[in-house]
Amino acid sequence: MKRTFAAIGVSMLASVAAAQSAAPFTIGIITDMSGTYSAITGKGSIEAAKMAIDDFGGKVLNRPVDIITADHQNKSDIAGAVARKWLEEGTVQALAEGTNSATTAAALAAAKAKNRVMLVTSAGSPIFTNEQCSDSGVHFGYDTNAVARTIVGPLVKQGKDTWYFVTADYAGGHALQSSIVPLVEKMKGKVVGSVLHPFQATDFSSYLLQAQASKAKVIVAANAGKDTINTMKQAAEFQVGQDGKQAMATSLLFLSDIKAMGLPIAQKLYAATPFYWDMNEATRTFARRFQQRTGFAPEMTHAASYSGVLHYLKAVQASGSVDARAVTQKMKELPVNDFWNSNVRVRADGRVLHNFYLVQVKTPAESKSQFDLLKVLSEVPGGDAFPSIAEGKCAAAKDGK
């Protein structure tokens, strides 16, 4: 009798232990599933993260890795509240994505408070590795500093040394212009003029005609999303940037933006990106796998989601911890290696130093398939694409921590 009880007791204990060790290790992805940014993040980022987990082997610290997702509807309060709820209840061990900079900041604040890691994979603001840098945030993918540097260097070297700005009149537009101007001037280029347009304007004709009349060799659409699409549509109507003497450039461009414009309108536009699916055999293989799952080609944000989750899991395995400081320190020690990055470093301020590429949109004649949209023109190594820590505003990293 006693033996039976003991046996039952032991088996119960064993099953409890088994249940505990098998408790999933969960990463919470907070993203936009239904709104403006759902095409460049959303479902694609989730699938990319799942692919990273599969490639890692599905288990970390002997626990199966799992994902839960939340649709923040582009509201910071929802992003922040979900993040806090998950972390306070112990549902997740890390957060990922965030989408735009305000929702990302809200989720990152929760990660900081609870001493967990947040993988920033789609916000473009450099604040996460500057003013708001911390042990919790690691920024994968692009930011506006890097795209500015990637556009200016190669284009000025090509002899395109006079620049004109059509800038969205809000903080983001001004920030972009003010980060590009000194770079142009440093390379002995010249800014011949600029014009501000209201945020989400519909009529760009007068701005574009001024830009055309300026005879600047590069016209920068220092705006984003719908504004860029409208700028380009109207530039095509007035044949601005199509004559071979002037070129149109924008800061960052997603494949879905090009799809929205159509190649006849977007053709010859210059932009910068850390990732394009058709760069080499490895990226093409990834894109095929990705497309089988989602039906579209991966954006740079999707690649960042893959890279972030994979590198995070490696660091957790190596450090045996989920504590923000321990994990991010390990993430900074280990080089980022995957289908896209080879031996890419994570800097002390949390910045992942991806290589960046100057790209140009193909003409309809050059494009051979549905997602064959970009030509990669030149490469800027990660160390040059980002301002150094000394130029930045991350106090903790400057102190040489």
Binding site: S34, D71, K75, G80, R84, S101, A102, A106, Q132
Partner: protein, 335 residues
């Protein structure tokens, strides 16, 4: 006697619900629901009682949040004082809006307030003000601080109780306002402005006061939200937020005190619930709104109250007894 007992029971039940709720539901969502409920009550004070339709209330909500953020973060002000600063700033903005808009009626008034609120939105987005609002990044990491220098608000549960208490007091204040002679005049203006003027009331002055009060309570709601979530972002200033508060009030029931509260809880509930199951929240809310307009135009709570009153009236007529009782938390029918 019976009515006062029921009132007491109601107060006790609501109090118990507020105290116990955070142990069942995540306090973050509750705080948001309370802030939205207060915002809707403030809006309802204007549309439901004075019959003035504003489509720019996000300006006050967002300004309250940003003003709170500015003094709490840059000047490390004590949270209650910072909330007061947010409220007063919103009230002043409301006075400015009101002076411009109050002579317009109906759709004209709505459009002027929409235009003014868009003006505020773009001012917040552009230089030079964006150095205070941080543009589209929003002001983040606002410290919660020590309430009156003694109560540490680091703990989310403490913040929850503080916010719940302020919201309850504010809603009681709104109740007091609409049940006062001033509130009666507002109702008279809503029903027939010309007649109110002919009775000797300076209707524009009354409407302006109602507008400023509504702006102040909206600012209070915004400041409390910034306190709860520790950030102030542009979304609070956008016309989406103005639309949302109209929706909340209509869904709950215009011209009733509890209606907007109910609407706020319902909308936040739907929004929060759909977050983790990846339901397109906006679509669900849209469908509910369409159903509401088609099936119960007085709003969910408004319709219930209306039917209840109709039933009470019938019973009364049956009994021929003159004593009537009205539920504790409502006033008048829907307009």
């Amino acid at each position: 006697m019976k009515a006062s007992f029921r009132n007491l029971l109601f107060v006790v039940l609501v109090g118990a619900a507020i105290v116990l709720a955070p142990h069942f539901v995540y306090p973050g969502f509750l705080m948001k629901a309370f802030c939205l409920a207060l915002f809707a009550c403030a809006f309802n004070l204007l549309l439901g009682y004075a019959g003035v339709m504003s489509f720019g209330h996000a300006a006050f909500f967002g300004t309250g949040a940003y003003a709170f953020a500015f003094v709490a973060k840059s000047h490390q002000l004590e949270p209650l004082t910072a909330v007061a600063v947010g409220t007063i700033t919103a009230a002043l903005l409301g006075l400015a809006f009101g002076l411009v808009a109050i002579k317009r009626h109906g759709i004209g008034f709505a459009m002027v307030t929409l235009a003014l609120s868009q003006l505020v939105f773009f001012l917040a987005l552009q230089p030079p003000l964006n150095q205070y609002t941080q543009g589209e990044d929003g002001v983040q990491d606002i410290p919660r601080g020590m309430l009156l220098g003694v109560l540490d608000l680091q703990d989310t549960l403490t913040t929850y109780y503080v916010i719940a208490a302020i919201v309850v007091i504010a809603i009681l204040a709104i109740r007091r306002i609409v049940q006062s002679p001033f509130g009666e005049v507002l109702l008279a203006i809503r029903e027939n402005e010309q007649r109110a003027t002919s009775l000797g009331y300076h209707t524009q002055r009354y409407k302006l006061i109602a507008f400023v009060l509504s702006a102040a309570f909206s600012g209070l709601a915004g400041a409390l939200k910034a306190l709860a979530f520790q950030f102030a972002v542009l979304a609070d200033l956008s016309w989406h937020a103005s639309g949302e508060v109209v929706l909340t009030s209509l869904l709950g029931g215009l011209g009733t005190l509890a209606g907007p509260i109910f609407g706020g809880l319902l909308l936040t509930g739907i929004e929060s619930y759909s977050v983790e199951i990846n339901l397109p929240a906006q679509m669900v809310i849209g469908i509910i709104f369409v159903l509401c307009v088609v099936l119960f135009r007085r709003g969910i709570y408004g319709e219930w109250i209306h039917r209840r009153q109709a039933r009470l009236l019938l019973e009364e007529e049956g009994r021929r007894s003159p004593t009537s009782q009205s539920p504790p938390c409502q006033h008048g029918g829907a307009g």
